[in-house]
Symmetry: C2
């Protein structure tokens, strides 16, 4: 029997306990032995709950108990999660976490400790909730050189964009409704500004290329400037707007960004709607694969954490995550990134000719919206776009495209 | 360095060689050591090819060479693949195969030998080509009790059905064109009669529930009776027709079948078109996930085989596939399976009333096709449907629905 400790009895932590208790028998079968929750660490009390008699408030009890060889971290945030996780790994205890901030910031350091001690630091739940993506990247797509990973990695923003498209509503109205329904947090900044997606694409990119990509180095733009009008134009060309976290290999460097992107209906992620997440991976041999599912939620996320626990039990004494060194991955300067740009501009005398003079050939889109024009440029770099846009008056907004 | 042998230099086997040579450096990094192809076994000659000097015709050379500890089997079929694979495993050599017939028929026996010898029998490429599904089922979805696996598992039939829908063409015309384009084989029976999908869903079902499901026990119906008219009716209710391989847990028994199924546009597999495969899995904790990609083709399939080779190198001395016993999984008698049925019936005096008398309440669909009617029944068992259909004249065709 394996005895484990769960640190943090919030949404995901209590989900982990629920999954372990509900599927006890099938989990024991797959792990090869029973998995027993010996401690739950939380500063709060949970009188009457199923874990009442296992609740502890002192981390040292876990650290110093030689019976515990696997620890689940579902506290979130950096402090004290980082200190606790590191202490566990240094004591030779495997750790399974759902904490994307922790993994994005300290992943390679914690993996290196795990490797040295022949234990495991696993974090399937840190990206895509219940969708298996970390393990496939680490163990299934190993024959390929990864050319691109693009994901709809944040359910809240995908829900908001889907509603904006379907109902023709504006961003702030939908956000407000999403907050009422509990789909968006009271303080939604981490989601709507793209910070959450940024941590996740940093993790995926680091794993895909085997070297550290710092999330601070990834160009990140949220969805707050997207409007109902943008969706009207998109609909005219059989397209929509999604918040993508994306990384692509371009001339041996990695282009990484989080930004709203206009995509056509032929894109594999086009029909990933509402709170669902989708992750598209292109390999040089494999071609395209996509993974789809609920990217958040108590039980889906807990299911991924527990799958890591099962792996940790099965692989005692052997480190199975291998490819993520602390060495830095070279990042393409964002100025050199190339796209076609969707641009809206205020109507004025000779504005189309002026736009053509600075942007070159334009693909015009008419959505019947008065007082403005919209077009898609040819392929140009971010720098070229910025310089061109600086030479003309009246630009309302811009969205990068993926076609 | 790991030295391997490849048995069978056909489409997939030559793809395996190409993947190993093209991505040599990244594969070595992920495997932890270089992977060298020492032998290629094939009865044919390949003068001038890259493997000319490694080509052998005698299997015993592989079997008796202690330097070879991993063997790739890409010959296909049962004989002599079964004898060769078994001999390799008995000699303590891990085997990676793309051979779905072999895995469906002898999977648990070969896995048991691998387990006993602390080596690996791996078969990611046997289902879904390059889509990771075997490893996710074995290693990622381990916290869940699987409630359903449904897949579009055969690219040829999905291509045919997609063209029939998009072009309004009949089955035989599209099949003929697909054969000309090389998307369908000259002898297309294994695809269009559902036999290929049947082997694949047998493998997935056995893995999901940990016990053997014989493919002979799975109700299997192909797409040869699907017509252009069926798609006209489907379009009227925002639906389409797909060939599903499906297994569901129903009251502790497994309902397994391969059949054309009418699905609505809200189904996660609705937009899996052309030669693409999609596999939908529902777990009791996880909810719904879906895996999508090219289910066949030289390099995608080879990529999956080589990922298995990487895993075999990384796990020398440890058997990693665990849950598939030779014990038989109890199967729900197909007569007890429940669906709503889409039925077309010839027009005649009072036919609607007669149909209601035998089938109960009907949801009529009008696609403007003369001389017939179409409807969807309430939920009923296969047996109830068959008995009701026996009591009425003029039924043109029937398709099961998934709504």
């Amino acid at each position: 029997m394996s005895k484990i400790a769960v640190m943090g009895y919030g949404t995901v932590g209590s989900g982990v306990v629920e999954v372990l208790l509900t599927n006890q028998a099938s989990i024991a079968k797959r792990a090869g032995e029973a998995v027993d929750i010996k401690y739950v660490l939380d500063l709060r009390d949970f009188p009457g709950s199923v874990i009442e008699d296992r609740l502890i408030k002192d981390f040292d009890i876990i650290k110093n108990d030689p019976e515990i060889d696997i620890v689940v971290e579902t506290m979130g945030g950096i402090n004290p999660a980082y200190q606790f996780v590191k202490a566990c790994l240094c004591e030779g205890k495997s750790v399974c976490t759902s904490n994307k901030e922790l993994v994005a910031k300290y992943g390679p350091e914690l993996l290196a400790i795990a490797r040295k001690n022949n234990i495991n630091f696993l974090f399937e739940a840190s990206v895509g909730g219940g969708i298996p993506i970390i393990r496939p990247l680490n163990q299934s797509l190993t024959a390929d050189e990864i050319e691109e990973i693009t994901g709809i990695l944040n359910g809240t923003t995908n829900y908001i964009l889907t509603k904006m498209r379907d109902e023709g509503s504006d961003f702030s109205d939908v956000l407000h409704k999403a907050q009422e329904l509990g789909y968006a947090e009271r303080n939604p900044e981490a989601d709507i500004e793209g910070y959450d997606a940024c941590r996740k694409i940093a993790i995926l990119t680091s794993l895909a290329y085997g070297q550290q990509v710092d999330f601070e180095d990834i160009y990140t733009e949220g969805i707050t400037k997207i409007t109902a009008e943008d969706f009207k134009y998109a609909a005219k060309i059989n397209a929509t707007v999604k918040l993508f976290g994306t990384s692509k290999m371009v001339n041996g460097k990695v282009l990484a960004m989080v930004a709203p992107v206009m995509i056509k209906s032929t894109h594999p992620l086009y029909s990933v709607d509402d709170v669902f997440n989708g992750i598209y991976v292109r390999g040089n041999m494999l071609g395209e694969v996509m993974f789809y599912g609920k990217g958040a939620g108590k039980l889906p996320t807990a299911s991924a954490v527990v799958a890591d626990v099962v792996d940790a039990v099965k692989h005692k004494g052997k480190s199975i995550m291998t490819i993520w060194s602390e060495e830095k991955q070279e990042i393409l300067p964002f100025d050199e990134a190339e796209h076609r740009f969707f641009v809206r501009i205020k109507d004025s005398e000779g504005i189309i000719e002026k736009a053509e003079a600075v942007f070159g050939k334009l693909e015009m889109i008419d959505a019947g919206i008065e007082g403005e024009h919209a077009f898609i440029t040819e392929i140009m770099t971010e720098k070229e776009y910025r310089e061109a846009a600086g030479r003309i008056q009246g630009i309302i907004s811009m969205i990068r495209t993926d076609f």
